[in-house]
Amino acid sequence: MASVGIEWINNFPAPCTQNTLSYCDDTSVGFLNGMVSRGHTTAFNWGNQNAFETDFRESSLGGDDGHWVDAVDFAHFSAHGGTNSSNIFQGYLGSHNASCTWRSDQARYGNNFNLEYLIIDACNSLELTRDIIAVWHNTFQVLHMIFAFTDLVSDSWWTGGRCYNNGRRAGNNEKLTDAWLDEAYSFWCDDNPVTMAAGRSQADAINRRDNERLNSGFGDIPHNEIAYYAWKWRS
């Protein structure tokens, strides 16, 4: 049984002003509903102004991830996002609780806590024109996989069901990579999902990326034993 936490932001009032999004609640809550429909449990559901930057930031760096994102098995974030030329991903928030963005260089998941799988339903979140290992390596403490997008991803009613399908399949113990790539890909909108997995070797990373399921029994890899990453995408 996996515990699931979601954070989603549609509204970005000052001082965190950004264009309004419309369906981040549908993608995050859809994922949660898909998982819960297969027997998994809800840990938290923070939306709009209730999604805090500190929920994502490492506790030893002044954050509170040990009570939130890093305290669940599966976390889902849906909002604006972007990876800059310094290889830092920023997830945008709708309230200034410490900061209007959470950053990949301040995220450490799985260290002393729990998070195994992170979905980032946001633009440029596993951006293949950047160095994705530089962006995310420090985040993989005991974290197993990240599911995200290269390039921009659509915010629309017509594609808003993607994460329900993903949650339903992931929760049903299907291969996590297939569940993400199949459901989040849209040739119509040119939405290109990516999966990234850590491994002790190249073969291990590929095996985990292609075969890991919620109940497949792949063990944790301490950060200092990660030697390879494998990723997969459709375009």
């Binding site: 808003g160 909108c189 590929i206 990660i226 375009s235």
Partner: protein, 283 residues
């Protein structure tokens, strides 16, 4: 805000188009088993999985699933689909297209006249050590996508397509389609002119901040996605656009009914209730 049209609507659209009533999905166990025979299976096994939204049938290593709302269909080889193997995918586009057409021909589901090759996508694999010294990239499969046409008019939207997945050995290891069958012509509708629709689109996005670029502007029948029930196939204009606002970008879509008479909404309510958010105080 500025609007730039990287793609524009076609100059010419038909003066009128038929609206079709769609057939209900064929998603019972009996129908799923019968469907499997189109894929060369016996349809006689008794291994079904029923959930609130899908009916699944498995025979050997092949699983077929039919969505209860849309009739969307999936076929996968559960051992081979999406798996990276030693051998890289190296078939040419022509070979991939031929294999996919042969496969679809055997299923006798979609007439050649009603579908056109849209694009060939690839499932891609990358791996690297931490320093990037041993970086690899390879192709795992080809996903050959065909779009649906009705009365020579393309079908737009998240539906109205089929994709055939081919592995490096040239075997079809996956297939999916959203292709609701038409039942009858319901009516004929006059089409709203392009100029009027562009005006409506620009009004819809007038509150967006930043530089807006229209990356796709299409006219066609509109078919909904997998999760949604749809009773009518009717014409629509579609705009897909990106917005760059400072360092933050996003992508969105507007779908505007093209018929002067509209039979059903092209956009429904949100699918999932987020629940009430009580105000949260920082710790």
């Amino acid at each position: 805000m500025t609007i730039r049209y990287a793609k524009e609507l076609p100059n010419q659209v038909p003066a009128s188009l038929a609206v079709y009533r769609l057939a209900p999905p064929q998603s019972t166990m009996t129908q799923a088993a019968a469907m499997s025979q189109r894929f060369g299976l016996s349809g006689k096994m008794r291994e079904f999985t029923i959930s609130d939204d899908w009916t699944g049938y498995q025979e050997g290593r092949i699983r077929i699933s039919v969505h209860r709302n849309s009739g969307a269909l999936r076929y996968i080889n559960i051992d081979k689909y999406g798996m990276e193997r030693e051998k890289e995918f190296r078939l040419s586009e022509q070979e991939s297209e031929q294999i996919s057409r042969d496969f679809l021909g055997r299923t006798r589901m979609y007439s050649d006249k009603l579908m056109r090759l849209h694009k060939i996508t690839y499932l891609r694999s990358g791996s690297s050590d931490l320093e990037g010294k041993e970086k690899t990239e390879k192709l795992i499969d080809a996903g050959v996508i065909y779009r649906r046409f009705v009365d020579e008019t393309p079908v737009e939207g998240p539906g109205g397509y089929t994709m055939v997945n081919i592995d490096p050995e040239g075997e079809v290891v996956g297939f999916r389609s959203i292709w609701r069958q038409t039942l009858r012509r319901e009516a004929k509708v006059k089409i709203i002119p392009v100029g009027q629709v562009v005006e409506a689109f620009e009004k819809l996005v007038s509150n967006v901040e930043g530089d807006l670029t229209v990356t796709a502007a299409n006219f066609g029948y509109f078919e909904q996605g997998e999760l949604d029930r749809q009773l009518y196939l009717e014409p629509a204009y579609v705009f897909i656009y990106t917005v760059q606002n400072g360092e933050v970008a996003h992508k969105s879509i507007e779908v505007i009914a093209a018929g002067q008479r509209v039979f059903a909404k092209l956009q429904g309510k949100k699918r999932f209730d987020p629940g009430k958010q009580e105000e949260r105080k920082p710790a």
